[in-house]
Point group: C2
Chain length 231, copies 2
């Protein structure tokens, strides 16, 4: 990885056109030739970047560019989309290279998959008498997160989200529409379960007869593994 601090301007042409006026920034060149342009603020997203696979070439500035103060030009071109990023460097303030090696990668825990596993184990959270049929119940248009039956034996399709948004309600609606055409399953009711449900999503869901269920992840994890919270 090469780290360059430079006064530079940047131009991107690709899916859109964008320009960064002259200022001091960090240019991070990764081992695969990809480039990130970071300022000293904002969040993790760079001001501008080129994703791999791409190639970085250094150009000599022509006379006009040199007269404008440009001492070095970087051209980064994406190998498939032909998107390009031009970095016009006016002054290099720092330049260092470092050998990092291959990263073992991130280990995650606590995403939707985990929530699904917990809800499947604690299916009675849907209401008394509910039983799990199966997780990831496959339909023609994709898997329903959880299929269960209620106390009367009727089918219940559960759409699970960390944050319950309108998209999730639409997704569940499509599943319900399809499943209710299947005489083996119909009638199927819907439950929209999430750690947090946005008001508009709740309104839309209830308008369509879909029940909303707010899940307490910490409590569910606590039931699953009591000692993990005692520290």
């Amino acid at each position: 990885m090469r780290l360059v601090i430079a006064r530079c301007s940047v131009d991107y042409a690709g899916r859109l056109a964008a320009h960064l006026p002259l200022a001091t920034r960090l240019l991070m060149v990764k081992g695969d030739g990809s480039l990130l342009v970071h300022s000293d603020g904002g969040s993790y997203k760079p001001l501008n970047w080129m994703s791999p696979p791409c190639t970085l070439t250094t150009l000599e500035p022509d006379d006009d560019q040199r007269a404008a103060g440009i001492v070095e030009l970087w051209k980064v071109v994406h190998q498939k989309t032909a998107d390009q990023l031009i970095v016009s460097i006016h002054e290099v303030l720092h330049d260092s290279s470092h050998e990092l090696g291959i990263d073992p990668g991130l280990q995650k825990d606590g995403v939707e998959a985990h929530l699904q596993k917990l809800l499947a184990e604690q299916i009675e959270l849907l209401g008394d008498g509910h039983r799990l049929v199966r997780r990831e119940y496959m339909t023609a248009i994709g898997p329903v997160d959880i299929l269960a039956t209620d106390a009367s034996g009727a089918s219940v399709a559960v759409e699970l989200k960390r944050r319950g948004d309108i998209d999730g309600v639409e997704q569940l609606t499509r599943y319900l529409e399809l499943m209710n055409r299947d005489p083996h399953l119909a009638p199927v009711t819907g439950v929209f379960a999430a750690q947090e449900i946005k008001p508009q999503a709740r309104t839309l869901a209830e308008d369509r007869g879909i029940r909303c269920l707010v899940l307490d992840y910490d409590a569910m994890r606590g039931v699953d593994d009591g000692h993990s919270r005692l520290f």
Copy 2:
């Protein structure tokens, strides 16, 4: 901005839990105290990070940690969510600080707004006899991108996307459902216009009687400003 290359392991606890095993990485500390952990590959997203507003504190490792090879501990805590990131540093290979100043920011050009402007100007792309009523026609559930009338004078609602996905069809469907309840507007037909329309989105749209229209951004820009393509 401070740049540190270090052998380190990282633990995140917040919306989920995540762990990075010991390896050599870049630690980027921004002026606002936020931290990015980058490897020498992947794309622009860091392996792990903490967004502002947050505070970074350096801790002394205890005896056990020191015996495990940890020479420095960084603790970054988000000020609102209390999410935290712990960086256990085993070896510092590089450490430099740089004054970047405030960035003037990115100037963008060519997104959906531009496409909307062009389609409004070239409304006949919808079909002969079409006339623009207005852009961003406001309804109770949000603005319809373009409202027009067809040759017979009937209303046409246009949903515009760069990439035409199922989401966009659902959005337009909600608008049409609402607008068709308004006797002043009904009957309203729908047009789903995008630079690229995904097959499943097209199927869903046509199944609902929504017409699909693929837009050629370059051609539309060419009509709008002929000289801009002659270079």
